[in-house]
């Protein structure tokens, strides 16, 4: 699956959209395997770029998700409560995790080409 060019990417495999939505990449969900649980941050929480703010659990393991930007959490994807497998099925769309009202993007975010170069 190609990484959408309109998104920015963190080396820890999160993507950040122009509207502040955050998810994990196709590559990340593929590495994790079947997602069974997603722990999302509270709406209204102030987060700092690089801070662990969510957890995606697969059958095998629990993985921290880091905020790719600083700002306030304004929404979370409530569909994931009942359907965590959306992270596998649609990592760039229906499987988004949370939305940040971005005050400042994190350092070192990459475009799709640079992210792909880093992940072979």
């Amino acid at each position: 699956m190609t990484n959408p060019t309109e998104l920015k990417y963190a080396s820890s495999h999160e993507w950040l959209a122009g509207d502040g939505k955050v998810g994990i990449t196709h590559h990340a969900q593929d590495q994790l395997g079947d997602v069974v649980y997603v722990e999302l941050p509270e709406v209204g929480r102030e987060v700092t770029a690089g801070e662990a703010v969510a957890v995606v659990e697969s059958v095998k393991t629990a993985s921290d998700i880091y905020a790719p930007a600083s700002g306030k959490i304004v929404a979370v994807n409530e569909d994931l409560e009942g359907s965590p497998e959306k992270v596998n099925e649609s990592p760039f769309e229906g499987g988004w995790l949370f939305q940040i009202e971005v005050s400042e993007e994190g350092e070192g975010l990459m475009d799709a080409a640079a992210y792909e170069a880093e992940n072979g």
Binding site: D34, V36, E39, E57, V59, K60
Partner: protein, 354 residues
């Protein structure tokens, strides 16, 4: 990622060809999954799957003193075995834990094969050599000589039976016998670690890859260590390094039947009552992992030893070691990232084959 310092089984190239994702396990570069953990888990529960377990160690004991030696180092009664029979057993330490948990197969008169955990091969060998002293027997590390395939699932016997001259349908649980499988001389054992019927197949290392490829071509699903772990957890099987260790009293588990009334190394400590008990927990949604604290009425009474979301049951399950005084409670909590979540005690195993 390159794993240059890790050992490889003779099937390493075959795993890569089959699309495996490789991970380090006990010093070995092993397949954690091929198509996907859930699909592999389900193949073993409903059909037939195959694991490469060649990373496990094989030690051979031959000679007039072999039985006495094995009786000395293990608590199960090896004298009850006969050629062609196998049993589960332990290597207790003198300090009260386990050096390893093992399987012993009697291959012939005065001829035994021991299968040990991959990560413990060097440690077990040193422990056994230190005890071997005056016993009139030869012990040989044959770990590099065997490829070991675990073919598991309700259709394992019927599937393999089409490919061999041996009568696998009639074979008893824990039997061990030679046969011809496709073009290969093998030993079959009706044993496994998945909670399903199945066979473990010993084949000479140099023939392993050809046999593996032929069995895959015959429609058996390759399954990785990820599915092996969820399968054994559902079946309530302890895993060394989690439910057993040098520091855990082995009688904390439900495996007291292993220990027979006879003299053996480590019996003094084994005879002491365990202070902890291994219990099963189930949760509603949130998966719990090894190391998470187990609470009862606000007190920390134990720790999760293995946990995952059960692919068969659809909810999280865990094994936990808790204080004996707390072990009969019904409602515990498990602390996950600082928050407590209800966890009900449930009987082990979580799953029993139909």
């Amino acid at each position: 990622m390159e794993n240059d310092n890790l050992k490889r089984t003779p099937l390493h190239a075959a795993h890569l060809r089959a699309g495996a994702r490789m991970v380090p396990f006990g010093g070995w570069d092993m397949p954690v999954q091929y198509a996907g953990l859930k699909a592999e888990h389900q193949a073993v529960r409903e059909n037939v799957g195959m694991f490469d377990v060649s990373h496990m160690g094989q030690f051979r004991f031959r000679g007039p003193g072999a039985l006495d030696f094995l009786q000395h180092v293990t608590p199960n009664d090896v004298s009850k075995l006969r050629p062609g029979r196998a049993h589960y057993n332990w290597l207790p330490s003198e300090e009260g834990g386990l050096v390893d948990d093992i399987y012993i197969y009697q291959a012939g008169e005065q001829d035994y094969l021991m299968v040990v955990n991959a990560g413990n091969i060097a440690k077990d060998w040193a422990h056994l050599q230190a005890q071997a002293g005056s016993y009139d027997m030869q012990m040989t590390d044959e770990s590099d000589q065997w490829v070991l395939l675990a073919v598991q699932g309700p259709k394992a016997a019927a599937t393999l039976n089409e490919l061999t001259d041996a009568d696998l349908i009639a074979a008893k649980r824990n039997s061990f016998f030679a046969g011809r499988l496709l073009d290969h001389d093998v030993f079959f054992a009706r044993t496994g670690y998945t909670g399903e019927d199945g066979f473990e197949v010993f084949v000479r290392a140099e023939e392993g890859e050809a046999l593996w490829d032929a069995l895959l071509a015959g429609g058996i699903t390759p399954a990785g260590l990820g599915a092996r772990d969820t399968l054994r957890l559902e079946a309530g099987f302890p895993l060394y390094g989690h439910e057993f260790s040098e520091d855990i009293h082995p009688l904390s588990s439900t495996y007291a039947w292993v220990v027979k009334d006879k003299p053996y190394l480590g019996r003094t400590k084994m005879d002491e009552a365990p202070r902890q008990k291994l219990i099963g927990l189930k949760l509603d949604k949130i998966p719990v992992r090894e190391g998470y604290p187990v609470m009862l009425n606000g007190e920390n009474v134990g720790v999760v030893t293995s946990g995952s979301t059960s692919p068969t049951l659809g909810h999280p399950i865990a094994m936990a070691l808790v204080d004996v005084a707390a072990a009969d409670a019904e409602a515990f909590e498990v602390e996950v990232r600082g928050k407590r979540h209800p966890a009900g005690r449930t009987e082990l195993p979580f799953y029993k084959a139909k």
